[in-house]
Amino acid sequence: MISRKICLLGASAVGKTSLVRRFVHGVFDDKYLTTVGVKIDKRTVESEGQEVNLILWDISGEDEFSQLQMSYLRGAAGYLFVADGLRPATLAKVIEIERRAREALGPRRFVLAINKVDLEADWRLDEAELETLRKQGWKLFRTSALSGEGVAAAFDELASAEADALS
């Protein structure tokens, strides 16, 4: 079994912790509780015939009160960036973090989860911007920690990439 460190990154209150809780424990709690530092969890998935132990680093969101500590990203095999579909600024924050991480630690595999798809009718994201990201090779997933939609698919994408790389 291979173990891989996956970091969840994004602005604060986009739902990173909720996505991990949905993926690992299958639960959702709409009460917002800020993450301080990093919270570590794990889940083993099977991908491409391989068992992959995903060590999930749910890293405190970046905002005016808290800067991302790049040291948390060391040793990560991939990133799961998270943006809030209701808040366009969080997508800009993801793009910024991805750039900084790439500059500091080199390229890594990553996917982008645009969260809160259960409220898609109220989304404020610019579809053209998303299309541009897709063209740049970003893999986008519409997710909802509330309903579970798209959550497993986003994590599985990273797991299968790791399994592929190994084989």
Partner: protein
Amino acid sequence: MSDRSLMQGLPAVLDCAVFMENEDGSFSAADRLPGWCQGFLPGSSTERIQLDQRFLFLQTFLEEARRFWDDPAPGRLCSGPWTEEDSTGCEHTLHASALMHRDRRVLMISLLGEDFAETQRVLQRARTLALDLERLGRVALALDRAAPGERTLLEASPDTLMLLRPDGAYVELNHGGESRLRRLDELLPPDVCDLFSSRIRAAVDGFTPPPIRYELESSQGARHYESRIAPFDDTQALAIVRDITDLVRYERELEQRLSKLRRRQEDLALVLDELDVGALFIDEHGRTTLASDSAARLLGVSADDLSGLDWMDALAPKRSDRVALEAALAAPAVDRPRVRLRRDDVVLEADLRQDPRDAGRLMVFLYDVSEVETLRRRVEEHSVFEDMVGQSAAMQDVYRLIEDLSQVDSTVLVEGETGSGKELVARALHNRSRRSAGPFIAVNCAGLPESLVASQLFGHKRGAFTGAVQDQRGLFEAAHGGTLFLDEIGDVPAGVQTSLLRVLQDKMITRLGETASRKVDCRVIVATHRDLAAEVREGRFRADLLYRIRVGRIHLPALRERREDIPLLAKRFLAEFRAEIGKPVAGVSTEAMRTLTGYAWPGNVRELHSALEYAVIRARSERIQPEDLPPELDPPPADQEEAERRRYEDALDRADGNRTRAAELLGVSRATFYRRLAQLGLDSN
């Protein structure tokens, strides 16, 4: 101080686990490990521990730490806080530091305690507040960016939209309001601010509080506002602020108009009082809004007591009357019957009317019908005579004749069609006569074989004929002291007619086979559906017997000759069937009654009785409908009209052309009579 003594002091001060790296990359505890650490290192030795297998976080931090130890810089390398579950599933938030101490590689892992929790709470508040502000800004921005049409619509709205927080901060969302936070106390006087605060708190808790009305002074004078505050999310409320200055003015004008209207209603109630008509005005919720004094007097309460009462409670009906009221209310307004309310000392009639101005409202008019009820009871008393039912003039004549003839002992001939109730007349004569304590024996002469009639009537001696095994007294003897009713006398054989004549003349009978006569003491009442005079003319009936039996004569009218009695009869029979059959059939619908009164009834009352029993068995509702009646009662319309034409012509004949009298005979008003005459094409005659 030795290394060991230094390390022994540190854990006690910092509540942390201190490890030193061994040459093989494993770690050894410098001292006793704190309790929280046991969850990560259960049962482990404190020597040569693979820490990166015990703490997921350390898998990467130790790589960094080793780089630090290989090329140490002043100070220490800090991990930053991390949260991780131990082997028991318990979460701990920890912090690691790597440092060099006298060439020893030291790793300290601390449990972050209350200080960290407080830091987290502060950060939580700060981030929550930031999110609130971001939401406010987002809403404002969204409104700013709204499509021109939407924006115009929003700006055209007379209402001001505001997002409010419980601490009094707000953002105006339209009417050129700025998206920056402002405070309610800059805008509103303290007392109104307090009202807003309590309602915002309620809205944030998910409730929808009642609206606030307040008045503010402006350069244009006093303005009135109404603010409705609704939940928005768990930190903010949405307020819709409306200038209701014009509305308040309209309300005041409306109040004045309502006041006038109330005066008019009171005037109306006064008039109704004078007319002795009680009036209750019922709102759409069934509550009494106004009761006239006469209504209160009729109901035996004060008008104030009636105000606001549920209308049914105001009328306080008995159970059966309540059912009738509910049924009347459920009926279509055009076909809604009045309902009798029987109270201890008064009988009221309730007329439920829709308020013509508002179909949801009701007006109840109450009439004191005690006197009418008394009269009706008296009429009903006269409408039932013994077991006979009918209040028609023809039946009243019958009752009077029965009264007169019951006082004498004469033979009576009762004539009438089959089923018209001839035996009832005979029984009534008996019951009211001095013989009422004696027997009443009825015999249908048409049902007796000729060979047996004489034996049955007069008796026989043993051996008088084959089969006469013992002495047998006849019906005349059996009726001794009472009444013998001979139905269908017209069907008695000629031989027996002679014997009958002798009995009636001499009051003596002779049993068959005997020679001696016996005295009998019974009254004889006979009946027939035949025209005995015609029978005499045809030679089938003895004239002398006819003259003997028709000392007293009662002619029972056919039912078609007293159609006005049909509703009474129907009521009586329905009561009977309700008890017998157990179906709650309360009455006959107007349509069905029209059929009943339009039918010719060749079988008379007996046929009506059977038809109604049939209908009660078939009935699916509380009132008999036309389709419940036997099919023979529903002739084709043309026949029906022809039958009615004949009835009208017959009535005119019987009244010698006097239309008033003809109308009386038919039991209809003159107006109805004239209208139907015209419709039947009889008015020209």
